[in-house]
């Protein structure tokens, strides 16, 4: 902290130490954390899929191998995001932004549709989800734009920034990927808040956003299953009806909460979760992976996982404060908002305090694009951190 409030001292320390190489300033905690959480994620993916795969006569490590590959690819992406000076991204934000849009547009035409969303490119055996990449690129773009107009974010410029965010959000919504759209909106919002959006502008934006959501619901643009998800969240205390009358969303919610509740304080033990093993919670290796932690490791495990994410948040928040330039702060806040929102929304939905959206739990859920994007985002933050003296 002292280095920032007292620049002369910082200069002093830097010169005395003679350590200007960025590698010296890598945030080791932040570098290691994604791998720790990913490792735990692999274990949970294995636990939740092995019995089912064995019964189907498939290699029980099937999902583990694929996720392992995604982690390797993610590591490469992270390395790339660390090695390229983040200020290059700052300067190239417009290009990055413009490259994102056709990617998002193309998936609507060429992409594959799964789970009610047309958000994937089939790339050989892997699926590639542009909206995951868009989360990071939109953060860079909005942060770059705000950095350009730092200290002077008037209504006109704010409007441009909002439109910049709104276009990819709209494209992602057209892919039926409500969760990712929400993440991008939250990230852009957080960047704008820290960039210095004025109070009354913020109020107008919030009102606009609310009426947009209202309009979307009122005009029935959303598919029935999404309303169903939200409705089941609102109605969850009144779901006494028999299973066959429950919607899929209510079923998901009830199974997830049952599984977590079964865990108790210390859980049933690894590979011993009855509901996990016998696949009672749908999407348990992807969006509902936290229920595996909850059932098999109980409150101790669940709280530990939340603590790991809290540690991750703290390191990111710290970088946002330590950054040597405004772009670094903004981009890190965007990354921070991205992880915080996804973690809260994902764990929150399994616990029944947030509506069900198709958002993965960063680093833990099975899913390649999300893993790669998450590693890349962390790489970006590490980049900002280690180059704060250079």
């Amino acid at each position: 902290m002292a280095t920032i409030t007292a620049p002369p001292l910082a200069v002093n320390r830097r010169t005395r130490a003679g350590e200007t190489s960025p590698v010296r300033h890598v945030d080791v905690v932040l570098l290691v954390l994604p791998f720790v959480i990913s490792g735990l994620g692999l274990l949970m993916i294995y636990s939740s899929t092995r019995t089912r795969l064995e019964r189907q006569g498939i290699d029980p490590m099937h999902y583990v191998h694929r996720q392992g590959l995604a982690i390797v690819l993610g590591t490469i992406a992270m390395a790339f995001m660390i090695l390229v000076d983040y200020r290059r991204f700052r300067d190239l934000w417009a290009l990055i932004y413009l490259a994102t849009l056709p990617l998002l547009g193309a998936v609507l035409v060429l992409g594959a549709s799964r789970k009610g969303a047309q958000a994937w490119f089939d790339v050989g055996p892997l699926q590639f989800q542009p909206s995951e990449i868009a989360k990071v690129t939109v953060i860079i773009a909005v942060a770059g734009y705000c950095h350009l107009h730092r200290g002077d974010l008037d209504a006109w410029r704010l409007a441009i920034a909002v439109v910049m965010a709104a276009i990819p959000i709209g494209l992602v919504l057209m892919q039926n990927d409500l969760g990712s759209a929400a993440v991008i909106a939250v990230c852009a919002g957080a960047v704008l808040v820290v960039a210095g959006v004025r109070g009354r502008h913020a109020l107008v934006l919030v009102l606009l956003g609310a009426s947009a959501v209202g309009a979307v619901v009122a005009t029935g643009t959303l598919d029935a299953y999404k309303i169903d998800r939200v409705a089941s969240f609102i109605n969850q205390d009144s779901t006494d009806q028999p299973a066959w009358e429950q919607s899929q969303a209510e079923y998901n919610l009830e199974q997830a909460q049952s599984a977590i509740a079964t865990g108790g304080f210390s859980g049933s033990g690894l590979f011993n979760g009855t509901m996990t093993k016998n696949a009672f919670v749908p999407e348990q290796h992807t969006d509902f992976i936290f229920t595996v932690v909850g059932e098999e490791f109980g409150f101790v495990g669940g709280a530990s996982v939340i603590a790991l994410y809290a540690l991750l948040m703290w390191r990111l928040w710290r970088i946002a404060l330590l950054s040597s330039d405004f772009f670094g702060t903004l981009v890190t806040v965007g990354v921070l908002a991205m992880f915080a929102f996804q973690v809260f929304e994902n764990i929150g939905m399994t616990l029944g305090i947030m509506p069900i959206t198709g958002l993965p739990l960063p680093f833990m859920s099975y899913g390649g694009s999300a893993a790669i994007a998450s590693f890349a985002a962390i790489g970006l933050a590490i980049n900002v951190h280690m180059r704060r003296f250079s």
Binding site: V193, F280, A337, I347, L351
Partner: protein, 663 residues
């Protein structure tokens, strides 16, 4: 970085901290807190308990003779996971081997029977013979998913002996399931339906084996059981019944009824007709503790019919075929009969107790008496004039006139407003255990003690108009007069009658009759199993008798068999009464109007040895004519069996056999 930005970054941090705290709080609440119901639900959703019944306990007699035990029955099961084609193939092959016992339709119907647990392989055939079993086992590889499983079913080593006491086991009914679900019963399981099997269900059943298996979301079991509760074999129930005496009693009853069917029905005025004697019952009881040593009901049934489930045809035949006279009914406890003159036990006690007539007061029996405002004529059987009678000889000779007049006096007292004394007959009858359940472990009727209230209620239920109700509901002299000789509305079960005589014979203790002696450990291997619970004799109440009156009555009852004037003198001719004095009372109860020509109910109640009473025996034969000619000989046979007296001969040492020979 401006201070403004720093504040804004800090705000973002605060928001995130708040969100994470919310997650932690909710996680704590869900896992550690109030959501116990969710856990229970989750466990219920993910696991199922597969329940298999343990072998039932045995039922034995007081001497350890097995009355009911189990035998192995081989069942064929087929897995539910088979695809439809394979299953049909397997059932077809099984049908070939099991023909003609089972057709493929039966096998398929059993496979699809919803009462079977979906978690267990379906039982398609039970009790298959050895040949079929071996044939299947030798080529088990040709029958995918098929297994031979051992079941236990009830076995009755003594055939039909004590069928009514033992009862039978059957598949639990919907009503029983509702009542017993809390005890862990499931659809398709066996439960005691009647008799001891039902009364001692909780002892006999044991604990079922319970395997907890995990199921997938579709409900099919997955993997080996995660928890096994091996259960416990049912405990053995020992009855107070003596199987030898029981068998002899059943034979005596059947033979007595057979002989009655050769006797002329005196109530048929025109032409000759033999007695129908369709049914009857005998109870033999230990007067010292209320334990039933033999209990027979005729006609009887074969409990083996109920093994593997009884067919609808057989069930209908047993219950609704009038020609079979409802063999499932245990008439010893469920039959309600007019007691006839056997009720004079109660009348005698009541008359002396309530000052109607003292024991040594004499009167003249002219064979009939005219009583009441309507000057109705009440006669002895055959209008026989019995001359001078007191209490003792009135009992011995069964003078109806003696008791008619007593009954009439009760009515006069009641009419005069002394209700307590006026209803002395009713009060004494109730005290002797009539009109109420005895408390025996079996189904029983309560019988009826008629009194003014009862009569009015009956009239109200039957008659439509107020006038008719008043006319038929009024308490007339005839009501008390007929009641004094055990007729009219009075009805008793054979067990109630036996218990009343037992209370008189033992000096005043009315025991709660029972058939359960004790419960012993069913899991014990060879040797003497440990007694888990002994059923203690339970007195219902103690009745005080006037000593001199009781002595007179005892003498009167003894005279029934010993005196030439006694009504059962002929029936006990040749019986060694000098060694084993038998006291008793005959009863011949009119059923319906004389004009119907229905045979009288034949009754005899006896206790012996008269000088130190140990057992009471009561026989009742429906439409069996005179008590002296049908019921009394049956009782004699039973007494002969219990004492070891050879029929018509003097046994080697009958008294010894009685006192210590048995148990």
């Amino acid at each position: 970085m401006s201070d403004n930005s720093r504040v804004r970054v800090a705000i973002v941090g605060v928001v995130i901290v708040a969100l994470f705290c919310a997650l932690l709080a909710r996680l704590w609440f869900l896992q550690m807190g109030a959501e116990e119901a969710l856990k229970v639900e989750a466990v219920a959703r993910a696991t199922r308990v597969v329940q298999t019944e343990s072998p039932r306990g045995r039922i034995l007699d007081r001497n350890g003779v097995v009355l009911v035990d189990n035998r192995a029955a081989w069942a064929i099961t087929v897995d539910r996971q088979l695809d439809n084609d394979t299953r049909d193939l397997v059932l077809g092959q099984l049908a070939e081997v099991l023909a003609p016992q089972y057709t493929i339709e039966q096998l398929a119907a059993n496979f699809d029977d919803l009462r079977q647990s979906p978690l267990k392989p379906a039982i398609v055939a039970v009790d298959v013979d050895e040949k079929s079993r071996v044939a299947i086992l030798e080529h088990i590889e040709d029958y995918p998913g098929t297994r031979v499983q051992k079941l236990t079913v009830r076995r009755y080593p003594n055939g039909q002996v004590a069928a009514h006491v033992l009862g039978y086991v059957g598949e639990i009914s919907d009503e029983q399931l509702q009542a017993h679900r809390a005890d862990g019963y499931l659809e398709g399981e066996a439960i005691g339906k009647a008799g001891a099997e039902r009364a001692f269900e909780s002892d006999l059943r044991g604990e079922p084996r319970r395997e907890t298996v995990e199921v997938d979301p579709t409900g099919l079991p997955v993997g080996p059981p995660v928890d096994v509760d091996p259960g416990r074999i049912g405990n053995d129930v020992y009855l107070t019944i003596d199987s030898n005496w029981q068998a002899a009693t059943e034979v005596a009853l059947a033979q007595g009824i057979e002989s009655a069917r050769n006797i002329q029905n005196e109530n048929v005025v025109t032409g000759y007709k033999e007695l129908e004697a369709p049914a009857g019952a005998v109870v033999a009881m230990d007067v010292t503790d209320g334990s039933v040593v033999a209990m027979a009901s005729f006609p009887t049934y074969d409990p083996a019919q109920f093994i593997d489930g009884i067919s609808q045809t057989e069930w209908t035949d047993l219950n609704d075929n009038l020609a079979r006279h409802q063999p499932l009914v245990n008439r010893a406890t469920q039959g309600a009969y007019s007691p006839g003159s056997t009720f004079k036990l109660v009348s005698s006690l009541a008359m002396t107790r309530y000052g109607v007539r003292s024991a040594n007061e004499w009167m003249t029996d002219r064979g009939f008496v005219v009583l009441g405002a309507d000057k109705r004529r009440y006669s002895n059987a055959g209008s026989n004039a019995l001359g001078r009678v007191n209490l003792r000889s009135a009992i011995t000779k069964s003078s109806d006139v003696y008791f008619y007049t007593g009954g009439e006096e009760f009515w006069q007292i009641w009419k005069a407003g002394d209700v307590d004394r006026g209803l002395g007959l009713q009060t004494t009858a109730a005290e002797m255990g009539f009109g109420a359940s005895t408390g025996v472990e079996l189904d029983e009727a309560k019988g009826t003690i008629p009194d003014p209230d009862w009569k009015q209620e009956l009239a109200n239920a039957i008659h439509p108009t107020e006038e008719l109700r008043r006319e038929h509901g009024a308490w007339y002299p005839a009501d008390d007069i007929l009641m004094a000789i055990g007729q009219g509305g009075m009805s008793v079960t054979p067990l109630q009658l036996a218990n009343a005589y037992a209370a008189f014979a033992n000096g005043g203790t009315l025991w709660q009759p029972r058939i359960q002696l004790d419960v012993r450990d069913g899991a014990a291997a060879e040797g003497t199993p440990s007694v888990l619970r002994t059923v203690a004799p339970t007195p219902i109440r103690t009745i005080t008798f006037d000593g001199s009156v009781r002595a007179e009555m005892l003498a009167g009852f003894e005279g029934v068999t010993e005196s030439r004037a006694g009504t059962a003198y002929q029936a006990f001719a040749g019986f060694p009464l000098d060694q084993i004095p038998v006291a008793g009372k005959t009863g011949t109860a009119q059923v319906g109007a004389r004009s119907e020509g229905k045979g009288d109910t034949s009754l005899f109640a006896a206790y012996f040895p008269a000088n130190a009473p140990k057992y009471v025996v009561v026989a009742v034969v429906e439409e069996g004519g005179r008590g002296a000619s049908v019921a009394a000989p049956i009782v004699r046979r039973v007494i002969e069996a219990i004492t070891g007296v050879q029929p018509g001969l003097v046994g080697p040492s009958p008294v010894e056999a009685l006192d210590g020979g048995r148990d």
